[in-house]
Symmetry: C2
Subunit: 342 residues, 2 copies
């Protein structure tokens, strides 16, 4: 039974440094009636992603900042509760960028139908969604790994990094992951087939890393930035490609982050680095999604999800990203389906 | 008359920090007799270049380090004094990578004949030589300036920078130079046709620079690195291209050079930076040289030379590069021709 009210999470402050619970407000709202071509959606899963930290700052960037005292938005899987659109009926599962809320009202054009028979629906928020596509385009369009080259990926056990490493293996590269716990190292080597993985929290990180790259570094897919990336960049080969995807190590650091200047290393090796965001590849999403789905169906890609249960745990799940508490894609399970058959 | 002895400059020490006179030894040697296919060459001009500082370190890089107690080598224009080769006769002018010496013996295959009637011979060490080609390939292959875009170049009044800015103007860009004196600023604007030029030594550099780039920065050709480059990188537009040619600001700094991390800026703008050295384009030198010679003949490219007179002043001319005492290409005039007709 659909209740009369639902909860929605608003941005209460623009956090300085690491966000805390106080930066999130849970607002109670009445379930509205829906208009022409609209649907009432009940959230099943929501995605928390590192890039959202950037949107909490009042800084012009590639996406608009979140507005203060309005709902935070992100990738959501929901079931259709009521529909005023020919496109959808009750029990359909949809995927879209929606409010962090237990219910959403959306125009039917703004969400996509999800076929639960193709793969578990949560893949649409991970390996078959934005994080999988980010790995696919960043690695293949910028990194361009060749057979026998060495590909290093930081944040390797995360939602993007774990896919990057597996695609690099499919391309015949020697793949080295960097992650922050022995559990993650074991997962990368034993489950995902990485050639090596090193723990950046270890005192012997730099030596361990050098042992893992006997032929240097040809491609570095960088999710973290900071000192880990310094260590990698100092080992690049001629004509290396650095794919800049994220700098999670400094998202919560409000001070200017200082490090060694790296330009000389790029000159002496004729190497390049390029940043990107997934929107750069919007014209080509279909190609990427088909490739990822194909590999997944053939059993060539594996994925892991860390699922936190309960809408009220959303801030906690988000903040955990910055402590590396997730393995693979971090999701929040908001509700079991009432109408959808999964 | 050819003397019996000549002087040659050897690297006496691997300098820590800024080199001094004591790092250079003037050695007196006897003029040898030449063998089959060899020529005896009398140096007219030699080129001093910032990249040579890198070769004084005992560090593996894109070129071999200079050897201790052996001759420093570089670009030289010389006249043929004696020839055991069909290719050359007395009075020919040649260009090659030779010892910093008043005389050289060289295999005829290792030097190229220079036609003094096409352009002043010193252009072969500058705008029609390595520095012109460096500007040409770096700007056009990596920077790819488009009509109406803003191109910024640091070290703008130097041998490479002054050519970069002029080629960018030929491509229809808004061109902004960064240099270190009012004389250089005036030269860039009044002589070379730059749209704006700013003095990085001024207290108001950052404000001056922002005024000069009302539409941001699309291409940055970087010869200097350091704080100047930080200021430029923080103003790049979406899809900007940073061409890394040199970091002269830190060549003499033996400590790790710290600065703000820049990766986030490349991510939020989907921008790239790439280092290069001229050797990357060896297969294509002819194309570049023809284009440069064409523009020069049409009067579309201007150049300046700073010529220091006297072989014994070579170390001084080299060290002056790091103080920015040159305008355009820095050369040393070693001798007037005895046999060549210029």
């Amino acid at each position: 039974m659909t209740p009369n009210t639902y909860k929605e999470i608003h941005l209460a402050n623009r956090p300085e440094g690491t966000p805390t619970d106080k930066d999130f407000n849970f607002i109670e709202k009445e379930i509205p009636s829906i208009g022409k071509d609209e649907v009432l959606l009940r959230t099943l899963y929501l995605s928390v992603d590192p890039y959202m930290r950037g949107r909490m700052k009042d800084v012009k960037s590639y996406v608009e900042p979140f507005k203060l005292n309005e709902a935070i938005t992100g990738g959501i899987l929901a079931e259709v509760v009521e529909s005023n659109s020919d496109k959808f009926q009750q029990g359909d599962v949809v995927n879209g960028t929606l409010n962090w809320a237990e219910y959403n009202v959306a125009n039917a054009q703004s969400v996509q139908k999800v076929d639960p028979s193709l793969a578990p629906i949560t893949t649409r928020l991970g390996i078959l969604g934005l994080t999988g596509l980010t790995a696919y385009f960043g690695l293949l369009d910028i990194g361009k790994p060749q057979q026998g080259e060495t590909v290093v990926v930081s944040g390797a056990a995360g939602a993007v990094g774990s896919v990057v490493g597996q695609i690099a293996k499919l391309k015949g590269a020697h793949v080295v992951g960097i992650a922050g716990s022995q559990e993650k190292i074991d997962y990368l080597i034993n489950e995902l087939g990485f050639d090596a993985a090193v723990n950046y929290k270890s005192d012997s990180f730099k030596e361990d890393f050098k042992k893992a790259i006997p032929n240097g570094v040809d491609v570095y897919f960088d999710n973290v930035g900071g000192e880990v990336s310094d260590a990698v960049i100092f080992e690049i080969n001629r004509n290396a490609r650095i794919v800049l995807c994220g700098t999670i190590s400094s998202y919560n650091n409000p001070e200017a982050d200082l490090g060694p200047r790296i330009q000389w290393k790029f000159i002496t090796t004729s190497s390049m680095m390029k940043g990107f965001t997934l929107g750069d590849y919007a014209h080509d999403f279909k190609t990427g999604a088909q490739a990822l789905a194909g590999w997944l169906q053939e059993g060539k890609l594996k994925y892991e999800e860390t699922i936190t249960e309960g809408f009220e745990k959303t801030p906690e799940a988000f903040l955990g990203l910055f402590e590396g508490s997730n393995l693979g894609k971090q999701l929040v399970k908001v509700a079991d389906p009432e109408f959808a058959k999964l």
